[in-house]
Amino acid sequence: MTMFKYYEEMQEEGVILYFNGPVSQSVVESIAELMRSKMRAEEAGMGSVQRVFAVLVEQMQNIVRYSSDRQIDNPNQVGEMAHGQVVVGREEDGRFFVACGNKINAQDSGELSGQIELLQTMNREELKLYYKERRKAPESASSKGAGLGFVEMARKASQPLAYDIVPVDGSTSFFSMKVVTQ
């Protein structure tokens, strides 16, 4: 077997970082910190480093919280761990993108796509007002603070959030999202 084919394919696609596996808080910290150092070393502007860092953290923490593919009831485990994918790369025009993929409960698909589609219709000023409104609203018991994370990502993006949800089986769907940062 050879990994070369994947290596070359990723390079052609502008991929800088690709991760597929169990994500925990410590993985979030390591990968986010790694990308920050790498971008700083390459002298990317501070603004673009911060936007990539922020989107990466939001996406990976969403995986930790919401991916339906997880180990449950492991008494030795500190914190949560769930399976997902994350990709950081550059578009042909040089803008950075951050993409993620993970399984979700099929029954959550409707609410998730509703949320993202609402954000897709908003301009910068509307996103700001919506962000502030959501931030002041009392938290609903079921939410661990999601909603606001998507608004945050939409505000860091240079174009509407792109997403996709495909059914895997009756109870599971696969969620993908791509954010092209400013």
């Binding site: 501070m46 911060q50 860092f53 922020a54 953290v57 914190g79 502030k132 931030r135 603070g145």
Partner: protein, 132 residues
């Protein structure tokens, strides 16, 4: 009233509240796994603290390099709690400190400032040499 002291980690800030010296500081990164669990004790601490003081000036220094959306929500809750206390007569200042190159921290500070009412909210820019 005892001090409240927490060391920084890569995803959570250094917190130091010293009621004897009237010094209150939160400094570092903020994207812990469970944001509410991390910050809940400071709400409890301040609740007790405000019960014990009157008109003394409470000046809180916050210097956050990056914070995630859950922290943003929690900070807003924190400022609203401080706003409530200020409405009841407490004298409260928040100094939102950011490095001159950290544009994102500056913008976030401005947005918090727009959303608070009764506390004094200062934006404090500093450089590698100190406060500008």
């Amino acid at each position: 009233m005892t001090k409240y002291n927490v060391q920084a980690t890569s995803s959570s800030p250094y917190i130091h509240f010293d009621p004897d010296r009237m010094s209150f500081e939160i400094k570092g990164e903020s994207y812990p796994e469970n944001c509410w669990a991390f910050y809940a004790p400071i709400f409890k601490w301040f609740d007790e603290f405000f019960g014990q003081i009157n008109g003394d000036l409470v000046e809180i220094d916050m210097e956050i390099i990056y914070f995630n959306s859950s922290s943003s929500k929690t900070f807003m809750d924190f400022f609203e709690m401080l706003d409530d206390q200020a409405e009841r007569g407490k004298n409260i200042i928040v100094n939102w400190r950011y490095h001159e190159e950290n544009e994102s921290a500056m913008e976030c500070g401005e947005e918090f400032m727009e959303d608070v009412e009764s506390i004094k909210f200062n934006l404090v820019e500093f450089t590698d040499q100190g406060v500008a």
